[in-house]
Every structure is written in structure tokens, then in C-alpha cells.
């Protein structure tokens, strides 16, 4: 492929001015390889357009939308106020109650957490207890909405578990990326990631190393916790699985998670 062919192929994805279009036409006329490639790309574009535009849509949607638009605005507003009132009352019963309960249980947990638990493990533990351990998640994300970059990591989640929540959160002023998995019997697993702060590393800690690996663990009340690190991140797996299962999961996730985090800016 010569420089003209490279220019012509590059042009296929650009909006070009009249002079460049003239050059392009001339090149395609004289270059069968580029002409064939341009035809193929046109065929894909045309095929994609046909495929998308021929997808059937739900004909009742237009009727429903029209019904919604046709409601008098005062009625819509009245309904909106009524709906808001219902939402507020329901939220009190449906959301606020469990949230308060979750906060009470979180507070109670940390009150009895032994001071001997290391500072570094408290990082992951705090987010698990704050966001996952005592929370109910009612609307799990659909696979399509999970970030594509994390799909190789999520391929390793244990059998019988699914993603109940995935979000960025903040606990005690510190931001986290947090995946919450739920399995049978409300078993919960957190994959918690946090940017390292100054001096934070497992390397020089007195924590137990799992089978000579880069995964560390420590005994904490009620949960199992294991941690490892990427260049700029600390990663924790916290769960109410058995200690062995938790460590095994951390061990399995360490490779793909570290590889992914080391690629992030």
C-alpha cells in the first residue's frame, strides 16, 4: 500500500472538501484495491442502515407517548405533585428506613471493630460495610451498562453470583469504585478499588500473605477480607463467603484487576 492508498483509505472516514473529493475520485478510479475497499465499506454502512431501520418497534409506544403528551398540563402537574408526594412517603418507608437501619448497623460494626485491625484493611472494609453489607439493592444493572473495560474482570465472578450494584461511591471522604455481587441466601461480595494514598501498600505490612502470592488477608469480625494492589490502586475483596473462598476469589481476580487498573489514567 503506497502513500496515496493510505490517504485514500483515511479519507473514507473523513468529511473532505471539494478539492480532496476530486483527488479521491481520481485515485479510486485508478486503484482497484482502494475502490474495492471503499465499496465494501459502503456496503457495511448501507447494510447497517438497513438493519437498524428495519428493526421493528413497539407500535403501542407511540400511543402511550401520545397519551402522556395529551394529558392537560395542569393534570400532568397535578399528577406530578401527587406522584412526588407518593414517592416521598414511599421513600420514607421504602428507602429511608433501610438506609437508617444500614447506618445504625454500620456504626455498630465499627464500634466493636478491634483496634488491632490494620489501617490498610479498614479502607476496603469501610466501603463494604458502608455500601454493601447491610444494603438492599433493588435494581441490578444490565450487563450492557457495565463498563466494557471491566467485563474481563466480571467474567471471573463466582458461579451463582451476579452484579447487584456497580458504582462510584465515597466513604469517609474517600472515593471508591465498587462492585457488589450477590449470591444465594443474600451472600454478598464486594470488589472495592481505591486510589492509593501516600505510603499505602501491602508490601511492608505485617499482614498474612496468601500462599506466597501478592494477596494479603487479615482476620476481621463477621467478614472475610483479602487485598492486593496495582500501581496506583488498592483492591479489596470483602465477603461473607468462607475465608478460603474469599482468598481464592481475590487470587483469581488479582491478575485481571491489576492489569486493568494499571492501564487506567
Amino acid at each position: 500500500m503506497n502513500a496515496d492508498c493510505q490517504r485514500a483509505l483515511l479519507n473514507l472516514d473523513l468529511e473532505i472538501d471539494a478539492a480532496e473529493a476530486e483527488w479521491q475520485d481520481g485515485h479510486l478510479l485508478g486503484c482497484e484495491a482502494c475502490r474495492t475497499e471503499a465499496d465494501r465499506r459502503d456496503r457495511v454502512r448501507a447494510g447497517l442502515q438497513r438493519a437498524v431501520k428495519s428493526t421493528p418497534v413497539d407500535v403501542t409506544f407511540e400511543q402511550r407517548l401520545r397519551g402522556s403528551l395529551a394529558r392537560p398540563s395542569f393534570l400532568r402537574q397535578w399528577r406530578a405533585f401527587a406522584a412526588a408526594a407518593v414517592v416521598l412517603i414511599s421513600a420514607g418507608l421504602y428507602w429511608i428506613g433501610p438506609v437508617i437501619e444500614s447506618r445504625v448497623r454500620e456504626s455498630a460494626y465499627f464500634q466493636v471493630l478491634p483496634e488491632t485491625v490494620s489501617r490498610i484493611m479498614r479502607v476496603g472494609l469501610s466501603d463494604h460495610v458502608h455500601c454493601a453489607a447491610f444494603r438492599k439493592f433493588r435494581k441490578p444493572p444490565v450487563a450492557e451498562e457495565l463498563p466494557a473495560a471491566f467485563r474481563p474482570v466480571l467474567a471471573h465472578i463466582p458461579a451463582g453470583y451476579s452484579v447487584a450494584a456497580a458504582h462510584e461511591c465515597k466513604t469517609q471522604g474517600r472515593p471508591f469504585v465498587h462492585f457488589v455481587l450477590r449470591g444465594a441466601g443474600e451472600k454478598t461480595v464486594s470488589l472495592v478499588m481505591a486510589r492509593k494514598q501516600r505510603g499505602e501498600t501491602f508490601a511492608n505490612s505485617a499482614l498474612r500473605r496468601v500462599a506466597g502470592s501478592a494477596v494479603f488477608t487479615e482476620d476481621v469480625p463477621r467478614f472475610q477480607i483479602a487485598g492486593f494492589e496495582a500501581e496506583s490502586y488498592l483492591v479489596f475483596v470483602v465477603s461473607d463467603m468462607t475465608g478460603e473462598q474469599n482468598q481464592q476469589l481475590a487470587f483469581t481476580l488479582a491478575g485481571p484487576v491489576t492489569a486493568l487498573l494499571n492501564r487506567l489514567v
Binding site: 442502515q49 438493519a51 409506544f61 407517548l65 403528551l69 451498562e145 492501564r263
Partner: protein
Amino acid sequence: MDRGAGTIKQRFESEAMPHLTELLRTATRVMGDRGRAEDVVQETFLQAWKSFDRFQSGTNCRAWLYKILFHSIHHYRRKWFRLAVMQPMDEYTEATAAYTPPIPELLTDEDLLAALEKIPREFRAVMLLVDVEEFAYKEAAEILNVPIGTVMSRLSRGRKAMRDLLVSREVAR
């Protein structure tokens, strides 16, 4: 539609409503889920109706609706999941930008839609706007609220990813 001014209702009927189906199709492809797509399209048309008296007749109603649509999609996603900003897009691009494979001769709608579904959402949105709905790059940039250079690079990457996926699907047969 009780806005009193019959002309507004008529204008909305004639200028906005004809685009409903294509917006719904685009939203479904971007969101990957019909129910969520209906949510954002409904929100789009409610927003459009509320502010239609400020819309200038004769300007591009279709592009205006798409701008509201992508704003609604962005808002819908941001409400509960913002992690997408962490995707290592450049690396994905490097991995897929080096080689141009031949495209299979026979392409079914199923092949094309399956490939489209696997393309990262940011690329897919641009392909839907430019390749399917035939918006100019400048219009797509305004709809997505990104620079025109971003539109061009996402389009090029998306098309490249599409070709790779079609080839790999062909090879797998």
C-alpha cells in the same frame, strides 16, 4: 396537548412526531435495552413538548430532538453509574487500529446488529448518528456535545471495530 395554541400542537405533530420511530430505534441500539430506550425517548418528547414554543420553526427539529435524546441518555446513565469515564479507550483503539481485514461478502442484518451491539457505546452512538441517520459530522458533534475531531476519531474506530467483528464472525462460522 392543551397548550392553547393550536399552531404549536400542529407544528409539534408535523415537525417532531414523525421522528419518534427513528429516535426509538436509535435509543434502543445505544441503550441496549428496549424498556430503558422507551424511558429516554418518552423523556425526550416530554422535554421537547415543554420547550417547543421556544423552538424556531425552520431550524433542524430532527437534530434538536437528537440532542435532547442524547442529553437524556447521558443523564439517565449518570444517575446511577458513571464509571464509564474510566474505560481505557486509547488502548482499545491501539489494539484494533493497526490492520484492515477484508470484509465478508455476505452480511446479514443479524450479523451487522450483533457486531454493532459489541462496539463500545461511545463509538456506537457516533456510528448510529453518522452512518445510520446520516447526520453531518458537525451536527453529530453538536448532538453529542463533543468536538468534531472526537466524532471523526470515534467514527473511524467504531467502523474499524465493526469490520473486525464482522471478519471474526465470518471466521467463526
